[in-house]
């Protein structure tokens, strides 16, 4: 793309570098302003949408209210490249600066190329915009050394090293700074912020020992999990605490997450870097677009907001079929590609799926106190709402029964999240060693990698064959069993998968087991 880094032309023509978002990627946009004699007018071309068209009024008022002259001439603004749709108010500030340069009210003293984004309010104050971190990453990649961004976004942009970021409070400040009459100091990187409303600890969960152990294994190997249990058995409570035992985000992962939240406009006021693993729990009435992202100008959906974290789907079979099926491809690829007329956009979506469901429509199948009132047909129908291909991508399947009060009272509190996390961190290191890549986990192994890393010695092999026979396991569950056994072996710090690892893993595959499929078997 022809792109003049110098950015500024003399005379009645000016060019300012700005940027827009495509998905979560920043895309550079040249703002060209031409002022000529003729009937006074103000036109913006280059595929602007309504919100960009409206910026004319904001710019006119903001310039006037900053004690500067708005030229009474024929003004033409071009946003290049002209084939990308431009939306949002982030072009207000670059257009205003372009007009001031073209009308010779402003002559930047700055030698280096710079990039400007920001929304103007009528009094010249600059308001924050979305996706600033993606734009900063783009600027770094294009070697643009200086950025002028809204003051409230500046610490977020400053997270990206190698660029000087100036936070601007109002139009006057920027004009004076560019003219060299005042000086500003570059912004400091943001502090870390919290996004999860909830934080708890595993020691608050009483009982459910097997479920806790299964979640530990899931967290260690990034395995997807489904929990089956009656209402009130603590499935949600367990899931909410998962982020507290997942290994901390690496710097790069933290940037990815922050970037997604920034482009979705979900960063809290003031911005910052997200250092905790996201936990998303959309309601089961969610639409397809809400789940995977979409609309004509795609925004990240829940699966992207759960990137590097946990996507908790409570009442799993109640989700719309198309919504569940849409999870399949991202679960495989770790990202989602949305195709639109103007090209396709990739959203990262590598999440750990934690699903929960009742054992039957009434919820009380297998409960010790209440009788289940469902017919076998209703139960089968309920389970059939989850398609085989989805279930195929869920390594760990556990049952979470409702506990009786005396069990709850007798049980001493469990281990704290910190202790569990220590073990998990060790397993993570094994995995980094194994895959030579910080983003890979046992749960994401391909069939070829399973062959390579889950090799069994002959006695274990024959035990596995016996198990498959005895429990009538399908060929499908064979791979899942191996993956889970691999993580258990890692937790036990064993290089090879041993008998015990297989024997334990089988207990986390309840949906494979006959006793569950047939109510009376």
């Amino acid at each position: 793309m022809p792109f003049n880094l110098k950015g500024i032309l003399t005379g009645m023509l000016a060019k300012v570098i700005s940027a827009t978002l495509s998905g979560i990627e920043g895309v550079p946009v040249d703002v060209e302003v031409d002022i000529s004699n003729g009937l006074p007018s103000f036109t913006i071309v280059g595929l602007p949408d309504q919100s960009v068209q409206e910026s004319r009024e904001r710019i006119r008022s903001a310039i006037k209210n900053s004690d500067l002259n708005f030229p009474v001439k024929r003004i033409t603004v071009n946003l290049a490249p002209a084939d990308i749709k431009k939306e949002g108010p982030a072009f207000d500030l670059p257009i205003a600066i372009g007009i001031l340069i073209a009308s010779e009210a402003l002559a930047p003293k700055m030698e280096e190329p710079f990039l400007i984004v920001g929304e103007l309010s009528l009094d010249g104050t600059i308001r924050p915009v979305n996706g600033i971190i993606s734009i900063a990453i783009m600027a770094r990649d294009l070697k643009i050394p200086v950025m002028f961004v809204p003051y409230e976004n500046s610490s977020e942009a400053a997270l990206i090293p190698g660029i000087k970021v100036y936070g601007i409070k109002n139009l006057t400040d920027l004009v004076q700074f560019l003219n060299g009459t005042i000086s500003l100091s570059p912004s400091e990187p943001a502090r870390s912020i919290k996004i999860n409303e909830f934080s708890g600890d595993f020691n608050e969960v009483k009982g459910q020992e097997s479920a806790k152990r299964a979640l530990e294994i899931a967290a260690a190997g990034f395995h997807n999990v489904i929990m089956v249990g009656p209402p009130g058995s603590g499935k949600t409570m367990l899931a909410q605490r998962l982020p507290t035992i997942l290994p901390p985000l690496t710097e790069e992962e933290a940037l990815e997450v922050t970037r997604i939240y920034s482009s979705a406009g979900l960063l809290p006021k003031g911005g910052g870097i997200i250092e905790e693993r996201p936990f998303r729990s959309p309601h089961h009435s969610i639409s397809l677009a809400g789940m995977v992202g979409g609309t004509s100008n795609p925004k990240p959906g829940e699966i992207s907001l759960a990137h590097n974290g946990v996507l908790f789907l409570d009442e799993f079979p109640e989700f719309r079929r198309d919504v569940l099926e849409a999870l399949r491809q991202p679960m495989e690829d770790g990202s989602l590609v949305i195709s639109r007329a103007h090209g396709s956009i990739r959203f990262p979506a590598r999440f750990m799926l934690v699903a929960s469901m009742n054992p039957c429509p009434c919820g009380y199948l297998g409960d010790t106190k209440k009788n289940c009132t469902c017919t076998q047909y209703q139960i089968e129908k309920y389970f059939s709402k989850i398609s085989g291909p989805i279930l195929d991508r869920i390594d760990i399947q556990i049952e979470v029964p409702r506990l009786e009060t005396d069990t709850l009272i007798r049980n001493t509190p469990g281990e704290g999240s910190n202790f569990i996390r220590d073990r998990i961190n060790r397993v993570r290191e094994f995995q980094i060693d194994r895959f030579k890549d910080g983003f890979r986990f046992n749960g994401l192994m391909t069939p070829r990698e399973i062959k390579k890393y889950c090799r069994l010695n002959p006695p274990v092999q024959s035990l596995l064959r016996e198990i498959i026979d005895k429990f009538h396991l399908s060929a499908r569950s064979y791979d899942k069993l191996l993956k889970v056994a691999r993580t258990i072996a890692d937790l036990n710090e064993s290089e090879f998968i041993r008998e015990e690892d297989i024997l334990e893993a089988i207990q986390y595959r309840i949906l494979d087991r006959k006793y569950w499929e047939k109510k009376f078997s």
Binding site: S210, K212, P359, G366, N371, P401, R410, I488, Q507, F520
Partner: protein, 348 residues
Amino acid sequence: MGEEVFLIDWILLNLTGRYRLIRELFSRGISTEDIISSLELGQEKLSLLRKKAGEEYKKAVDSGIELVPLSSDDYPYLLREISDPPALLYLLGEKVWLNGSFVSVVGTRKPSRYGINITKKIVSKLVENGIGIVSGFAYGIDTVAHMEALNGGGYTIGVLGTGVDIVYPGVNKGLKKEIIESRRGCFISEFPLGDKPEPWHFPRRNRIISGLTQITVVIEASLKSGAMITAGYALEQGREVFAVPGNADSENSQGTNQLIKEGAKLITSGEDILEEFNIIPKVSNIRPPELNPEEAIIWNILNEPRLEDDIISISGLDTGKFNVIVTRLELKGLIERLPGRMLKRRNG
């Protein structure tokens, strides 16, 4: 060809549904043709029935379904003794009733866990001692009884309220296939092929369930239930009714408790039934062989069905280790899992 005409005649007789008269005439040694003519059906109706019977015959031959007429030596002799035996039985599978004694086991479609457990216990004890199980292939107790008989290596007969070619209830499709493929079981019905599960079919087929055996065991039944109808038929037919008692306040046991009040034999185990056959029960090895110390810990705690969490806290084992041992015991066939993360000893 003679055989075909003969069977078509019996299908025709079966279609008239006048079982009492047919049995009466047959027992006097009257020939099939004469029985037909003595029914006085009228020319028009007779030719209509004959046409339908011919089609039935063709369908049965095409789908490998055997026809067992009342006159056949293979017709279950206990069933022939009741006052209204079907003139013809459609049979899918092996004639396993020729292989030994059978007991009918019936109960509710919505059993409690107690009902399921006791059914398994009784049925497994019976098949272990060579006694087969007759039931109605409905949900609930029936399904458990058939399944347990099959798993225990015994014989089982399903008496259907539909044509034998119909799978009902649909969820038992797999079980039906398993029973046929094991060659240790069969399905019989008096209803023509393709007959749908009509509500009035089921009470009628219940007389066949009780009629096939000397003893009918009622496991769990509410006062107004199919199992109670079966028990009623058994008494009418001069057969014995056994009932398993239950809690006085349990809806599922009101029927069985009522039967006991009225004089049905109260049973609590398979041994109670074996007594009637003068069979000395085989002693199953209660103490399982070769348990390592850790396995023994869990086995000992499981003197009653228990929740996993409780076993973990009583045993003091760590959860991973615990799961390993549970799989070992499951592999040895010593314990089994119930929904709701419960564990119990098998047949214990």
